[in-house]
Symmetry: C2
Subunit: 556 residues, 2 copies
């Protein structure tokens, strides 16, 4: 079954679950009228269905590869990228001063969702560029903004982010890449970076690398890191791509999935770069880029969940096996298949609601400057990232299972969803790192943001949900009182519990707005709340229990 | 880190968790002395480490393929198979009358576990042959036994099972393959079979297909199905492979994983076959083969869990990232990584204990003819299959996560475990089918087998465990009182709950026998029991809730 963009579902979630009208009511986002939203969703949906979805399997079968040092992208990807750029989807939320549309991030995420469902490996490219635009808007000089942002928005140039090195993964502070002043305001960047998504391509006139490196006087650890713009081709006086910079793609990774996205090892050999923001403040700048990218990656998980769900439902509605209790005899009438499909549907809805609820908070924070909105968005970001990607993986796995033996056969397409989405739980900070962020930095306010969210949950008149919210409140109080190591021991379970309580809330809100959704909401709540309780029990066990098992026993 | 056969761990589980000494105390299995067991485990372990493990990645990189109608297996697989055959591992549990060793199935499963950890795609071949030997022992004529079994045991010939057709997957009764009497005691078999694991190879002199087909007077559905032996080459008067039979491999599937195992579409065009067992009793005969194969597939899940766990622990003990709370600075000292690794270890232990507990029951039933042992084994089989394979998938996924970005890169090997093991939740009956078997056929005794197992759980002096057992007993009583459709709606959750309660019991038994295991047992119990409770809540929701969501809403 070909992918169909869930335009009506997105509209419903925006209107009736996450109250997007609040965003449209701000002065900053006054242009996001219902008509504009409809036009955006239907146009991006059409492009995703017609232009991007046909690239999904070719991208898998014909991976991006390196030919004499040049990256050759998968068949059709150049045209697909052009359609994305020409549609204006790269700069939807960018500043109009540089050619952006200034629309809410919520709408960018809705468009990203559809593009990612259609072809995740291609959609990763715009996601990188969108993040780079945000980082430049927040931290670059006016001159740099004027030079780069318009070309990134038009898709003439693409953006990447370069953090990881072999010895510096989650521990970014361990990086060794050096930046030495050239004396002319530029810097010579030397080092190797790995896992660079879309590190190069054969369809943009330039590739703009944002690279973390250490200045000669940079301290050890994260506090001594600076951010640099290092373009593949050095812009000439007219801002056109000029001389080749001293950087190259050493190799592309052979990955489990996402074959259409070239993942590069990049070598910088004294490449010319320009400082972005203040010296030694690179981590803060990079976090701007990473923070919204985290939500963007959560939405990638949602993208795959939606696509895998549609694919499995299409199959289940066609496939007939055995006698069934009732209905028209397809496998969807078998209780366990139906349960599986409903789980996929319930989880996908919850992931979408949580992601867009987070996006609305980010927009409200930007539009109002209100600290409570900012804290709400910051709290929801790691949840949206981890739950969205975990849901993508779970739903893709369920989709394979619904297909039975066909699910293991690549031609079916079900397996590709799982292979592609698997990395989303890893990149932009592993889901374990997201959970540590949640119980660490995001509870550093003593739980204020968490309690405010739980107040929203408790305000909904549903006794089981309120009971779960009360337990989660008590767990949050417990968490805040613990040493960091004990919080970390229960971090993933805490995040899982929170996501399920919020998921149940969103389902109930949907059912309140539309009675036809009540049966799915009942199904969802009856599963999410028991799971939340189990996760809460696991979240409280503490670190002592973990370290009581010796390394010797583990390695035995 | 190369795979190390967990000989001491297997020995511990056999001795202190599943009381294998009861098997060795029977007259039938008196030869399974501790010395024999040690010799078998260490010899099979050595072969798995040295001969089979080096084939794991070549099998993935160089899949079995079809060359002018002939299957070419992956590099080294012929030699690997020869080592398995020469070691005597194909006929370990086969009847000594035909060259087998007559050893307990428990020991075959221990050997299978190690072979599967080393190279799952190759190990699937012996698993098929072992199952065929069992089916022939139980149902074939003496003449057929004498002709086939010795050659299957020696590995001169290999065996396959042919059930599935495009329209007949889980619904085997829908098959269309025909068997027409030739008048000479043989039958002409015509039809197409799909998903035939190891449907052909280039290293055995013959391939013996057990094929389900319908005789002209066969009723519709499963009651009209008969089982036939259809060899690739028809044995001559001396029992040597003679003329080619009218069958062929049409194509091999392009699969997500298990690339070293050729999965064939088989075409039979009036191929000569011989009836195995009674006419129209083919399903019963096939179930003999499938029943132990189900345990065998559960052990495949365990195999991959063990291998993926070792691989991840090896990585975690080497990789250093960031400051840690205590310890020597590897990522294993980060609480969340440690939690993940301990989960892998706890789940793998539980899967192993459940599988071998099941195997001991099957051996005891065979040795004593006791109905209670038989019922115990029958009840545990779907649990061992589904929990074993779900654990394989979960642990392989955890293994990817522990590797971070490296986990998504194929060279690392972590991804292959997940790609390979994914199918084990599907073949030999999907895990949904296993759960339906559990709450259907296996509760048809009114819950007697379940209650007997729960009595064993309750006999262990641990208040939380007893509480969970009481709840599971109440749930079982509820299940037995429900219509089948309501049982099916909660089937997977019921199975999941049972597996976790049994897993907790086995961990506590291990801790009782060896105090060094108490910390891991505490960790495991603190997670498995809350999960069991959540699954119990989900198991009780019933089918009405599923069918309250309309197909229209699902497809929307």
């Amino acid at each position: 079954m070909p992918y169909r963009a869930p335009v009506a579902e997105l509209r419903f979630v925006l209107d009736h679950v996450v109250a997007f009208d609040r965003v449209a009511a701000t002065e900053m986002f006054a242009e996001a009228t219902p008509e504009t939203v409809d036009a955006i969703l239907s146009e991006a949906g059409r492009m995703s269905e017609e232009v991007l979805a046909p690239l999904q399997r070719p991208g898998d079968l014909h991976p991006a590869h390196l030919e004499n040092g040049v990256v050759r992208t998968s068949p059709g990807f150049a045209e697909g990228f052009r359609a994305v750029a020409d549609g204006g989807w790269l700069g939807m939320s960018a500043d109009p001063e540089f050619g952006g549309m200034g629309l809410p991030i919520t709408l960018t995420m809705a468009v990203n969702e559809m593009m990612g469902s259609a072809c995740l490996s291609l959609q990763l490219n715009p996601l990188m560029t969108q993040g780079q635009i945000e980082a430049l808007e927040a931290h670059a000089s006016d001159e740099m903004k004027a030079l780069y942002i318009p070309k990134l928005i038009s898709g003439e140039w693409c953006g990447t982010m370069n953090l990881t090195e072999p010895q510096a993964g989650s521990d970014v502070g361990a990086l060794r890449t050096k930046a030495v002043p050239n004396g002319d305001g530029s810097y010579a960047i030397t080092g190797q970076k790995i896992y660079i998504s879309w590190g190069d391509n054969d369809f943009s006139a330039n590739v703009c690398h944002l690279v973390l490196a250490r200045l000669p006087d940079g301290a050890e650890g994260t506090r001594g890191i600076s951010l640099f713009m290092v373009p593949k081709r050095i812009p000439d006086a007219d801002g056109n791509p000029g001389a080749a910079n001293d950087l190259r793609v050493v190799s592309l990774e052979h990955k489990m999935g996402l074959h259409g996205s070239p993942t590069a090892v990049m070598q910088y050999d004294g490449a010319q770069g320009w400082l972005v923001g203040e010296p030694h403040k690179g981590m803060a700048a990079m976090f701007t880029m990473m923070n919204n990218a985290r939500l963007g990656v959560g939405v990638q998980g949602l993208s795959v969940a939606e696509a895998a769900m549609q694919h499995a439902i299409g199959y289940a509605l066609e496939r007939r096996q055995g006698r069934t209790h009732e209905g028209d005899g397809t496998i969807l009438d078998h209780a366990d298949v139906r349960r599986t499909v409903l789980s996929m549907k319930a989880d996908t809805f919850a992931a979408r609601a949580i992601a867009f609820d987070c996006a609305v908070s980010l927009d409200m924070a930007k539009a109002t400057g209100d600290a409570a909105w900012r804290a709400r968005g910051a709290f929801l970001t790691p949840i949206a990232k981890a739950f969205g990607t975990d849901t993508g993986i779970k739903v893709a796995g369920d989709g394979i299972q619904v297909h039975g033996g066909m699910g293991f056969i690549e031609e079916t397409g079900a397996a590709q969803y799982l292979r592609d989405v698997r990395v989303t739980a890893i990149y932009e900070g592993t889901n374990g790192i997201q959970a540590m962020d949640l119980v660490g930095r995001k509870l550093a306010d003593g739980g204020a943001a968490a309690f405010a969210l739980l107040d929203e949950v408790s305000a909904f008149d549903h006794s089981d949900l309120r009971g779960a919210a009360d337990d989660l409140r008590a767990l949050t109080e417990w968490m805040v009182a613990q040493e960091m190591q004990d919080r970390f021991a229960g971090a993933v379970s805490y995040l899982n519990a929170f996501a399920r309580v919020l998921g149940a809330l969103h389902h109930l809100r949907a059912a309140e707005a539309d009675g036809d959704r009540a049966p799915l909401a009942r199904f969802a709540v009856n599963r999410m709340l028991p799971e939340a309780r189990a996760e809460m029990a696991k979240a409280r066990t503490g670190a002592e229990e973990l370290f009581a098992v010796s390394n010797g026993v583990i390695a035995a």
